[in-house]
């Protein structure tokens, strides 16, 4: 009797509408987060960068891409210095054309984050879809998908991204290339990383597809599409989230690398990598701030996402490599 009453009490407590925030606060992930200084610092840094990127048009003191606001006389202003032409204060200095470095960084961050997030989203959607199909249907479909994955994984993904970027450039008319560059980048990086999602999802799907409830769903005549979407997809989302965080860091670095090499975001829509490419030219002439601040921003972004990914991997799935 006693045990019954306590269990019904527990049920009542569980059923009682506890606020979502409260439940989230009490979850294991939140506990581990509160006890990991590295995760907290990384999250704060990442959040600041994301907010800066999202609200760039509001936060940036200047619009670096509106030529009418530029004052060439303000060029090469040192950090915390006043422009020779306008007499205005520039926190992080200006570049050769008098563009405010702080503002270009905010806009560059916006483009870097956008490309990184979209590339990972693209890779995840493609990888999860192909992984589910390979794991559920098996047979020759699986063989084809996984062989392609095997061959692709032999090659470093940055090379594949460059190659796809080159091919895509070849397929777009030259006059549209700069305009399309950002979308081409997203597809290139996404296509170079789908393999990692597909492999994990496939193996989770194979395990899950053998369980009773999937058999039952099949027996009552549900269509494969519905089974994949309603039953299998939710079960593979945990590892996908972890991989997505890890590959967000890699996608951001890949984008920066491609843009730095001049095969990424164009100078008209510069990402952090493009800014570093531009700043590198001033390394020898002493205008260090044009290079340093975009580099530090990229470093903070890559490091915070990387550390968050590491932490999340340890918490959610210690077995995932």
């Amino acid at each position: 009797m006693n045990s019954q009453s306590t269990s019904s009490e527990a049920q009542a407590e569980a059923a009682a509408p506890k606020g979502f925030l409260r439940r989230a606060w009490e979850s294991d992930i939140a506990w581990s987060f509160r006890h990991s200084p590295v995760a907290i610092v990384s999250a704060v840094v990442f959040l600041v960068l994301v907010l800066g990127a999202v609200f760039a048009p509001l936060l940036a003191p200047y619009n670096p891409f509106d030529p009418s606001t530029l004052n060439l006389m303000d060029g090469f202003t040192v950090p915390m210095g006043q422009g020779l032409g306008s007499g205005e204060l520039y926190w992080l200095g200006t570049d050769d054309q008098g563009r405010d470095i702080f503002s270009t960084i905010l806009y560059g961050l916006r483009i870097s984050l956008f490309i990184g997030l979209m590339a990972v989203l693209f890779a995840a959607v493609l990888g999860v879809t192909l992984g589910l199909i390979a794991g559920y249907f098996g047979g020759w479909i699986e063989a084809v998908i996984m062989r392609v994955a095997d061959v692709q994984i032999t090659f470093p993904s940055i090379l594949i991204a460059m190659l796809i970027f080159g091919i895509a450039r070849g397929l777009t008319p030259p006059e549209l290339r700069d305009q399309m560059a950002i979308w081409v980048l997203i597809v290139s990086i996404g296509l170079s990383d789908w393999v990692y999602f597909a492999r994990t999802v496939r193996s989770s799907t194979i395990v899950e597809a053998q369980k009773e409830y999937v058999h039952a769903a099949r027996l009552i005549g549900r269509k494969p599409g519905a089974i994949l979407r309603k039953h299998l997809l939710p079960n593979v989302m945990g590892p996908v989230l972890v991989i997505a965080t890890i590959y967000l860091a890699l996608a951001i670095i890949a984008e920066a690398t491609l843009s730095f090499l001049g095969v990424g975001a164009p100078p008209t829509k510069p990402s952090l990598g493009t800014l570093i490419r531009i700043g590198q030219d001033y390394l020898f002439s002493g205008e260090w701030w044009i290079l340093l601040f975009p580099s530090l921003t990229l470093l903070a972004l890559a490091l915070s996402v990387n550390l968050l990914g590491d932490w999340l991997r340890d918490v959610l799935n210690p077995k995932l490599r």
Binding site: V151, T154, F155, P156, I158, L159, M162, L163, F165, G166, I167, R169, G170, L171, A249, I253, A256, T257, F260, L261, G262, V263, I276, Q280, L283, F284, W288, L291, S295, L298, L299, A302, L303, N306, L307
Partner: protein, 327 residues
């Protein structure tokens, strides 16, 4: 054992066939090379003349066989950008890349293994912990930032080392090489460190964790119980067992090194095939891209094959067939 070797070779051939297919498709079906070379104002006659020279007016199948047969002989067509045979450009630039990759690879492997062993043996030491923490940041740094940082410190601020080019090149094995002169060796240092640093960190972390694993095994305990010296235990017994899994990773890292040579060569203006490839991507120079793909693909396949065969040499357990045959 023979079956193992045959299977590996067959797998490599399959990868090459697929890479060859992609390479040919790019070569044949992409873009309008004539327009790329001649510009939009070219006359019909100009176009025809160039079509004949590039051979892109023949049937697809003929072109395919021509492409593959040519590729086997190191013949990759003519660069769209400057109308020089691709093979010539690559032959001129490949030694520089291989030299850079080789030196970085050796740097990464030597320092990676040495630091990995050190941090494993002095597990709780101050220096070992410091190295481990630093390496965590090193893994997050993009290669090109490392390169820029090194240039800034050693070339701009200290002025110790050159920031670009190969320095004076002499001749080694009939090819120009930076290793023959002091200025060439100095020019190699920064690019090699940049290219090898990430791989070094990776190898170091791997060697450390494998070594810690091995040091916990029974045969290491037994070696201690037999009174062997720490040096013999660490290097003769633990290290050899550590290196078996490490060799695969090192082999795969060679691929990464060649891939990231593209980045390093651009940062240091190193005249290798990597910077050639980047220029080809910028200018949509399809033959060069296709040739680079095939070249790198073959390199990866060969490296993976060598790694697999090295296993046979190092691990006697894989040579079971031979062992059983002898007794």
């Amino acid at each position: 054992m023979l079956a193992y070797v045959i299977r590996r070779v067959a797998q490599g051939a399959l990868v090459l066939a697929i890479v060859g297919f992609v390479s040919f498709s790019m070569f044949r079906f992409m873009g309008d090379p004539l327009e790329n070379i001649l510009g939009q104002e070219a006359t019909v006659l100009d176009r025809q003349e160039l079509e004949d020279r590039l051979g892109i007016n023949k049937p697809v199948l003929v072109q395919y066989f021509k492409f593959m047969a040519g590729a086997l002989q190191g013949e990759f067509g003519v660069s769209y950008r400057n109308a020089i045979p691709v093979a010539e450009v690559i032959a001129e630039r490949l030694p520089a890349t291989l030299e850079l990759a080789l030196v970085s690879g050796i740097f990464a492997a030597l320092f990676g293994i040495a630091l990995g062993v050190y941090t494993a043996i002095r597990r709780d030491g101050f220096l070992a912990n410091f190295i481990m923490t630093t390496s965590l940041i090193g893994v997050s740094l993009p290669t090109f930032l490392i390169g820029i940082l090194l240039i800034w410190v050693f070339a701009v601020e200290l002025g110790w080392l050159p920031s670009f080019g190969r320095g004076e090149t002499g001749t080694m094995f009939g090819r120009p090489s930076s290793l023959t002169s002091w200025s060439g060796i100095r020019a190699l240092i920064l690019p090699s460190v940049t290219l090898g640093l990430y791989q070094m960190t990776l190898i170091m972390r791997l060697v450390r964790s494998e070594m810690l694993e091995v040091l916990r095994t029974d045969y290491i305990r037994f070696a201690h119980a037999r009174g062997l010296s720490s040096r013999a235990i660490h290097f003769r017994h633990a290290l050899t067992n550590t290196l078996i899994p490490v060799i695969t990773i090192i082999g795969l890292q060679v691929g990464q090194i060649i891939a990231f040579a593209v980045v390093t060569e651009t940062v240091f203006q190193w005249p290798g095939v990597g910077s050639l490839f980047i220029q080809a991507v910028q200018f949509v120079d399809i033959p060069v891209m296709a040739a680079y793909l095939l070249l790198v693909g073959s390199l990866f396949v060969v490296i993976n094959l060598i790694v697999d065969l090295l296993y046979l040499v190092i691990d006697p357990r894989l040579r079971v067939e031979r062992g059983a045959g002898a007794h």
